[in-house]
């Protein structure tokens, strides 16, 4: 008995101990002066701008390095290292560099560093993920220490939006410094420490050409689980969290009203990649009917709980200059879908399933298991298709298996996404031009090809917008892509955090303001 009493006492003592530790931990939960803790879902794999490949890397690199230009929160190019640029002919760009920019080791940033950065990212041996964005570049050269000239193989208007690539120090890389783990830039924050799998710490660069940032330290804190990250924010262990967040947490945190909340139209889409070479999907009428059988409103409102916006076409409202509200892909309309299928020769069989020439209208819809909302969406679509006479099947596997299948054209329909769509070209040319490297659905249409080529070549934004509008209108009729939603971008910040401007890419440059 006395032993049991001792056990009870032990429990009381443990609780008391936890109680006494409260001041320690709540002190921990309070940021040190000038420290901002940013929650993030993955650890970075490389802090070399040329080799970056995940969001944490993008965001940290954007603070550590300067680039020729920066994209602002409206995704428009703004001067950074380049104070001005000219486009004397469609195939030439000339950039004038500021001369007061210095790397964090004190060496000046020169045209040679810019040339080195772009030359090395274009080298296939570097295996840079974003190399293809720059392959239209024919030659990049230093005119003098403060001027860089880029010559293109063919006109390539989107290039400017891709020039926010961090400029790396030629002297350091050639001296053997591994920027993957030991980055050296000329941006507003200096790299301080990287606890792998846990935290990347940056500190303000007092010598930054834009002036010393207001916040002394920024920590990227890795919490892979979305709900746990939201809770850590609520507990005061994080000062800023942003998408990806679960729709339920977004609703809960927004309703609680304790934190500042911003919802932005993101620059990402969730879409159905429809394989035009698939047995039953070659006929545009079938693809269009498929689009008419997707209950977009229910998916966006119920499964995504209103955190995303129902899409109308391949044109994004967040890229206002190219958006056209009057271009519309087919809306949910089962009756019309059936009529269209009948027109294409598909008739309901005795089991209710549509058939033609003795074969059934079978369609497999795939997605990846990592995203529960996408899995639920695919299952919901399957249900609606089945109710309307389509023999719909579902295939779920992990991302490498699923995406590998789609990239090799071994799919009927795949639910997936595109992110970082800073220019309409980024969503359309590679994916839907017949010569595009990302055209996994093997779509080919001369009219679309011509419009997309014109979009690259046109010099003025209105001319480019007209070209993309034309392409999107044609694609809304042909349906090789069905854009389900424009992904919303959600940001929660501690109310004490001032001067922060949410960015649809999740970039944090506004924290670097003086």
């Amino acid at each position: 008995m006395s032993k049991m009493g001792g056990f009870g006492l032990g429990v009381v003592a443990l609780v008391a101990l936890l109680g006494t530790s409260a001041p320690v931990t709540s002190a921990w939960a309070q940021p040190a002066k000038g420290l901002i803790r940013i929650g993030t879902d993955v650890d970075s794999q490389s802090l070399d701008p040329r080799l970056m490949r995940e969001t944490t890397g993008f965001r940290a690199i954007n603070l550590i390095y300067s680039a020729l230009i920066q994209l602002d929160d409206k995704v428009s190019p703004r001067p950074d290292l380049a104070t001005k640029w000219e486009n004397p002919d469609p195939k030439t760009w000339i950039f004038t560099l500021r001369r007061d920019a210095r790397f964090h080791d004190g060496r000046p940033v020169t045209a040679a560093d810019v040339v080195f950065t772009y030359t090395t990212i274009l080298d296939p041996a570097l295996n840079a993920r974003f190399r293809t964005l720059y392959t239209p570049i024919d030659k990049i050269e230093a005119v003098d220490e403060g001027t860089v000239r880029i010559s293109l193989k063919e006109p390539y208007a989107p290039l400017l939006s891709y020039l926010d690539l961090g400029i790396v120090p030629k002297h350091a890389v050639e001296g053997g410094r591994d920027l993957n783990v030991n980055p050296l830039g000329s941006g507003p924050y200096k790299f301080a420490k990287w606890k792998r799998g846990s935290r990347i710490s940056l500190e303000a660069n007092a010598d930054y050409f834009g002036g010393k940032p207001k916040y002394d330290k920024l920590d990227f804190v890795v919490v892979p689980d979305n709900t746990a990250r939201a809770q850590a924010f609520e507990a005061g262990d994080l000062d800023l969290i942003q998408s990806p967040l679960s729709p339920r947490d977004i609703k809960r945190l927004a309703a609680a009203g304790k934190a500042a909340y911003a919802k932005l139209p993101g620059i990402a889409v969730t879409y159905l990649n429809i394989n035009t070479k698939s047995e039953n999907l070659g006929d545009p009428r079938v693809r269009k009917a498929l689009a008419m059988l997707i209950d977009q409103k229910t998916i966006v409102d119920q499964i995504y709980e209103g955190t995303d916006q129902a899409a109308t076409s391949l044109l994004l409202p967040s890229l206002a200059w190219s958006y056209a509200a009057d271009v519309k892909q087919p809306a949910f309309d089962p009756a019309k879908a059936k009529a269209l299928l009948a027109e294409a020769g598909w008739k309901p069989g005795p089991d209710g399933i549509m058939g033609k020439d003795g074969k059934k209208l079978s369609i497999t819809i795939g997605t990846h298991s990592e995203d529960p909302n996408r899995v639920q969406t695919v299952e919901f679509i399957q249900n609606v298709l089945k109710q309307n006479g389509v023999d719909a099947k579902v295939a779920i596997s992990d991302w490498p298996s699923f995406s590998g299948g789609v990239q090799n054209g071994r799919h009927d329909v795949g639910l997936m996404g595109w992110v970082a769509l800073v220019d309409p070209d980024r969503l359309m040319y590679g994916q839907l031009h017949s010569a595009g490297g990302l055209n996994w659905g093997k779509y080919s249409n001369a009219k679309v090809d011509a419009a997309l080529t014109a979009g690259r070549a046109a010099a003025s934004l209105p001319a480019r917008a007209a070209a993309y509008k034309q392409a999107a209108a044609e694609l809304a009729e042909e349906m090789p892509y069905y854009v389900l939603s424009y992904q919303g971008f959600h940001v929660f910040t501690d109310k004490a955090l001032t001067g922060f401007v949410p960015d649809p890419r999740g970039y944090l440059r506004s924290l670097a303001a003086k």
């Binding site: 650890d43 490389s46 846990s198």
Partner: protein, 326 residues
Amino acid sequence: MLAYTARRIALLVPLLVGIAVLVFLLMHLIPGDPARVLLGDDATKEAVDRLRASLGLDRPLPVQLWLYFQRLAAFDLGRSIFQSQSVASLILARLPATLEIAFMALLISALLGIALGVAAAVKQGSPVDVFCMMFAQAGVSMPVFWLGILLMYVFAVELHWLPAIGRGEPLPSAIGAAFSGRPEVLLKSLSHLVMPALALGLSNAAVISRLVRAAMLEMLSSDFVRTARAKGMGEGVVVFRHALRNALLPVVTVIGWQCGVLLSGSVLTEGIFGWPGLGQLAVNAIAQRDIPLVQGVILTFAFVFALVNLTVDLLYSAIDPRVRLG
């Protein structure tokens, strides 16, 4: 004893070779290509093929396996495809964190499980018994990730007693700091450790408590316990020195096995509490098909698991002198 230990350690080699072959084949046979993942969606087929060739992935599978074993024989786990570092350095950087959380979880599950099991057995049929077994039922039924989120909600979000995420000073150096007059370092370290370890250890505590209860009930009704009581020994001595010691043998076996459960459970727990351990490294490596890293992490897990079970076997003879190893 020494010969036995040496033989068991020697047996580890074929075991690890078998695991290495299995993981190698699995990683190469499932769909998904690390070159494609590394280069991203935008990459051309030529670029992917070039990278595959430079990684040696275009060679026949037996050749790749042979080269892999050649490196393994030289204790070289290779380089991570994605993290531009050696697999060994990545694993060594993360292993202490996972061992720390697994050790604490094991400690919690053993202490709590034994305490609850003994209490339930001694007070069989009483409210204490009902409470302990309800706890056990709940513990077994709760998935680790759910329990983790729940603990975080109660102790970090609502009560603000504990930090929600992250790891403090590594435990050994925190203990060192405490001895050199800075107990707050250890307290902070423990405050980070307690929730992930509880989340991980609670369901195992439940399993152990049921096992201890059953074994204790059997012991408490056995002849030697009756004799001990008849000799006028105190109840505490009877329960703890006589009954519990005899009831512990099956429990020790289970604790060895639980170590495997804890290592695999750490994959989920680490994701929730932002704990920089091997579990998260493994998840990301598998998701990217970082073949050398997956192989390295799984071999490490297997090695630790085998080592713990060897230790458990050696412990038998310490707990029960009738057990002779050889």
